[in-house]
């Protein structure tokens, strides 16, 4: 038998977040915590304002009753092309890979928290405590993902374990990845399909289809972080004039 070796294509992963579809339902938030072995956020952890949510929903109030609106904004690691968290790490625990991902190497991290301090999106989280689960709940831990110990930083990885598994599966089957083969846990769960993940270098991918969208914006674009998470603005006939968008 001759095994044909398929050379992998270069990938650049991006996510599109359609804010107009987001309902704030929190399915992505919990899907992420399930997939990535995020430590349980107890009430005291919330009270200390140290809750870990790799993806979170920010809720904005506008106006006052009765003319009041609530807005929802999902925020996750923006996987910056020009990431403020990377150059400040004294031990190269955070680096940039060739697929556009901003990667955290847990066993290098010494917990200086410089990256957290320098991240304008506040998507990096510090493990203040050794994560503990009741014995029986340890059964649902994902074996593909490291449990981070006390003293290291962690953050959204675009579910890199799913990317790697998808690539290996495609290699084994002797084919290239198709658009949609890989979905991070948040995008897979999202019941309104507000989150779309894919390869921006593939011109036929769903994410590429949003490249020219008129509603497109980046979070804190003025910082020049060259983010790989693209937002599509909320639509509202009652929108007031704004400096953004």
């Amino acid at each position: 038998m001759v095994i044909e070796v398929i050379e992998r294509q270069t990938r650049k992963w991006q996510m599109v977040v359609d804010v107009d579809k987001c309902t704030g339902c929190q399915a992505c938030v919990i899907a992420c915590q399930v997939e990535n072995n995020v430590a349980l956020n107890s009430d005291e952890i919330f009270r200390q304002r140290r809750a870990t949510e790799w993806i979170r929903i920010e809720r904005y109030w506008e106006g006052e009753f009765p003319n009041v609106k609530a807005r929802f904004l999902p925020v996750l690691c923006q996987q910056c092309g020009n990431a403020p968290c990377e150059p400040v790490c004294p031990v190269f625990a955070t680096y940039h890979n060739d697929q556009g991902l901003n990667v955290q190497v847990y066993n290098r991290c010494v917990g200086t928290r410089y990256c957290q301090n320098n991240c304008p999106y506040h998507v990096r989280f510090f493990n203040f405590w050794e994560p503990v689960w009741p014995e029986s709940l340890r059964n649902h831990l994902n074996p593909d993902v490291t449990v981070r110990s006390r003293g290291v930083m962690e953050k959204c990885t675009f579910c890199v374990q799913r990317i790697r598994r998808g690539e290996l599966d495609a290699d084994r089957e002797g084919r290239q990845l198709k658009d949609g083969d890989i979905q991070p846990a948040c995008a897979q769960a999202c019941p309104t399909d507000a989150l779309v993940f894919g390869d921006i270098s593939d011109s036929n991918s769903r994410v590429s289809g949003f490249a020219e969208n008129k509603r497109k914006f980046h979070l804190r674009e003025e910082l020049g972080t060259d983010t790989n998470v693209i937002y599509l603005a909320k639509v509202d006939a009652e929108a007031k004039d704004r400096s953004h968008a």
Binding site: V19, V29, S42, I45, N97, H140, P191
Partner: protein
């Protein structure tokens, strides 16, 4: 040069010098962007994963899920991409299902009560001992009532057989009662099952109180439709929401209108008045004459927007605008439910609201209301056995008087849900209570014997989603892992299996010996039909395929195109309309709302769901009360103040959450907490561990006044008036807001205007 691990270690050897070099001379940018050798090696072999399709039981709508299994352990739950209800999507609740399966609080086998009823003191016994205890208790009883959650499919059939044969009364407990909606659909449209609300294809949706993006009926189905409604088509749909509270659905609407609680029906009739007056040529004439008795617009004159504004708070301009938009839209849809139905006027409100669909001719139309077919062969509709609040009061009295002496409880927690009518006090008089709960909750704590059920990920079943997707759908449920508790002689057993076992031990001959057989019998029925998504010449191949796909559905089947047209009549309108009023003693309307994560309380033992922030308040882990920010200022209440909320039925404590979206006349409180027994285990870092469910927060349903809808006897759970006062304690509200600074300053959130 590349930075490899070896290089790096060499530099580390240089020590402080290395850092100085880094900071001082500046490293060329490309060196900081180099690939790490820490990526996984190309020749790595990943652990094998298997995915099994089954059904989600967290929300009781037969959503198809797939579960990722590695080495016999369930690792992740996702939506079944083939399944017509979930189409690969999940809710926050489905995601947390693994914490039901692996919950530390699960009962590991049968339990026998040792202490007094309700104390929750039990000793472990074996199944043989337990069944030997149970059997004599089931013979020679006066009257047996079986309390379950609404069940469909084969379990529904097994229960039905059992209760019919043994003269047992079956009562299904719906915690946020939907009886009024069920009755409306039956009376007005002649349908036994919920219709399809075709949100995805609608242009203009007018919604009265149905929180369909969060917990109402089939949220995953509706959320998917909502995504398409927003950005799936060439143009964006408009959602207008009328509700006394800003719910999650209201927050996502293009316009939310506050309405005085309980007056939703008046608003609907005002809209009807404008439709008849200004757009007579656009509306259905048959409906019009039925509604007005041939009297035309004058029959509705008392509902002119100018006349209802004082009661409802919605101005004539708003009403006229809505009526105008409804007629202008090619595909309009009116939905009603939730708080709008949970009033003393509930049925009136719902009939008025759904009459708008008849007037607008939305029945059977794309983007309107389409009817679902009845469940496929051998199916049971889960709403068949649903009991009304009136029935529950009667049961409580029967228990107190000894008329009913035996209770079998599965999947429901009446002692918690019916706290407002002290169900527990009635139940304490029962001679025998047998619980089939997997956990010790308020109801199983009353039991004499607990025969713990498997969780849904360990057992067989099938379900008829209601509302379905517009065609016959059966979700199949199979064990995706071996039962977690398998102690010799003890362990858990499937409720259906135990029921069948008991039935045959009582001397009967049930149709099946276990649930798997019952499910296979259903599959045989579907196999014989030779239609739908799975067809085969061989039953075993059919069976395997149905389990692999997670179910069977027939896209070609459909419900009736139209039903009888029975709008609200002038006679009904002539009846007295009680507008719920607050009083000096109880100046606020209490709007309880079903928590987005822990729902009616069943999620309270799952740390993921407790920690999932509420969409609006971002609060977690506690019972909070939403109060208008200005009103709170007036009353000197700030966030985290513990307050006492009292109705004429009782009082609860909650933490204040002032916000700008609450009406000054309303207090709203989420359901689901205040458990005395449920969720009895600790989590958290070692220095501060806390109980997950037990003793946390308050049960808002405990202070609901036992008011009922006049026509159906359903609980009017939105019709309670309360007052509020500080207890003097302050406790920091655990919430996500404030954990990190927001991305946008006030007023800078990016929004664009729709294109026309």
């Amino acid at each position: 040069m590349t930075i490899t691990r070896r290089n790096f270690l060499k530099w580390s050897g240089i020590g402080a010098l290395g850092t100085v070099v880094f900071a001082g001379c500046g490293i060329p940018e490309e060196e900081l962007l180099v690939q790490s050798p820490a990526t996984m090696p190309e020749d790595m072999v990943t652990g094998l994963e298997a995915w099994y399709a089954t059904s989600c039981a967290q929300c009781n709508n037969g959503e198809g899920i797939i579960v990722r299994i590695i080495e016999g352990r369930a690792i992740k739950i996702e939506g079944n991409p083939d399944h017509p209800v979930s189409k690969g999507k999940t809710s926050v609740r489905s995601q947390a299902g693994l914490q039901v399966l692996y919950n530390p609080d699960r009962l590991t086998g049968p339990m026998k009560r040792t202490g007094n009823r309700g104390l929750g003191e039990f000793e472990p016994i074996t199944w043989d001992e337990a069944l030997a205890e149970v059997l004599p208790k089931l013979t020679g009883t006066k009257s047996v009532a079986m309390i379950t959650d609404p069940v469909s499919g084969s379990l529904g059939r097994v229960i039905k057989e059992f209760v019919d044969r043994n003269g047992t009364r079956h009562m299904a407990l719906e915690s946020m009662e939907q009886t009024v909606l069920t009755r409306t659909v039956r009376d007005m449209f002649g349908q036994e099952v919920m219709p399809v609300f075709d949100i995805s294809n609608a242009d203009y949706v007018l919604n009265f109180g149905a929180d369909f993006l969060s917990t109402w009926l089939s949220p995953v189905q509706y959320s998917r439709a909502y995504g398409e409604f927003r950005q799936g088509h060439g143009h964006r749909g408009t959602l207008v929401h009328i509700e006394p509270r800003m719910s999650m659905t209201a927050a996502n609407a293009d316009k939310w209108h506050y309405v005085t609680p309980g007056t939703e029906g008046l608003v609907a009739l005002s809209i009807a008045y404008v439709l008849v007056k200004d757009f007579a040529q656009d509306i259905d004439q048959e409906t019009l004459s039925l509604m007005t008795g041939g009297g035309g617009v004058s029959a509705l004159a008392s509902y002119a927007p100018e006349s209802t504004v004082d009661a409802t708070g919605l101005t004539p301009e708003v009403i006229e605008n809505i009526a105008h938009e409804l007629t202008k839209s090619e595909h309009s849809l009116v939905i009603g439910g939730g708080a709008a139905a949970a009033h003393i006027n509930g049925l009136f409100n719902m009939r008025a609201i759904y009459s708008l669909n008849l007037l607008l001719g939305n029945i059977g139309k794309k983007g309107g209301i389409r009817f679902n077919p009845e469940p496929a062969d051998f199916g049971i509709d889960k709403r068949d056995a649903v009991a009304t609040f009136q029935d529950w009061k009667t049961l409580r009295d029967d228990l107190s008087s000894g008329k009913t002496d035996t209770l079998l409880i599965h999947g429901a927690n009446p002692a918690y849900t019916l706290e407002s009518i002290n169900f527990t006090d009635g139940a304490k008089n029962a001679k025998t209570i047998i619980s089939f709960s997997s956990f010790l909750d308020e109801s199983s704590a009353l039991a004499d014997i607990i025969l713990p059920d498997h969780t849904y990920l360990e057992s067989w079943g099938d379900h008829d989603p209601d509302p379905g997707p517009g065609y016959q759908t059966v979700t199949f449920q199979q064990p995706v892992v071996f039962p977690f508790n398998q102690d010799v002689g003890r362990g858990t057993r499937s409720f259906g299996d135990v029921l069948l076992d008991l039935d045959s031990k009582l001397g009967n001959s049930p149709s099946y010996s276990n649930m798997k057989e019952a499910v296979r019998a259903r599959a045989t029925k579907l196999y014989d039909q030779n239609r739908g998504s799975v067809q085969s010449g061989n039953f075993e191949a059919f069976w395997i395929s149905v389990l692999q796909r997670g179910g069977w559905w027939d896209e070609k089947s459909s419900g009736p195109n139209e039903g009888p047209t029975k709008p609200i009549t002038s006679a009904e309108m002539a009846a007295e309309y009680d507008v719920p009023n607050t009083t000096a003693e109880y100046p606020f309307h209490l709007i309880p709302f079903e928590s987005n994560s822990i729902t009616d309380g069943r999620g309270a033992n799952q740390p993921w769901l407790q920690a999932a922030p509420d969409p609006l308040s971002t609060a977690t882990w506690e019972t909070w009360v939403e109060i208008n920010a200005k009103k709170a200022d007036e009353l000197g209440i700030k966030e985290g103040d513990e307050v006492e909320i009292a109705s004429s039925t009782g009082f609860i404590n909650a933490l204040a959450y002032p916000n700008p979206a609450s009406s000054p006349e309303v207090l709203s409180v989420p359901t689901g907490l205040g458990h005395k027994h449920y969720g009895n285990f600790e989590i958290g870092p070692d220095m501060f561990r806390s109980l997950v469910g037990k003793g946390r927060g308050s049960n808002v349903m405990a202070i609901i006044n036992p008011v009922q809808d006049k026509d159906t006897g359903a609980l009017a759970w939105s019709d309670t008036k309360v007052n509020i006062k500080k207890t003097g304690k302050w406790i920091r509200l655990p919430k996500f807001e404030g954990v990190v600074p927001p991305q946008y300053e006030e007023g800078l959130f990016p929004i664009v205007k729709p294109e026309h």
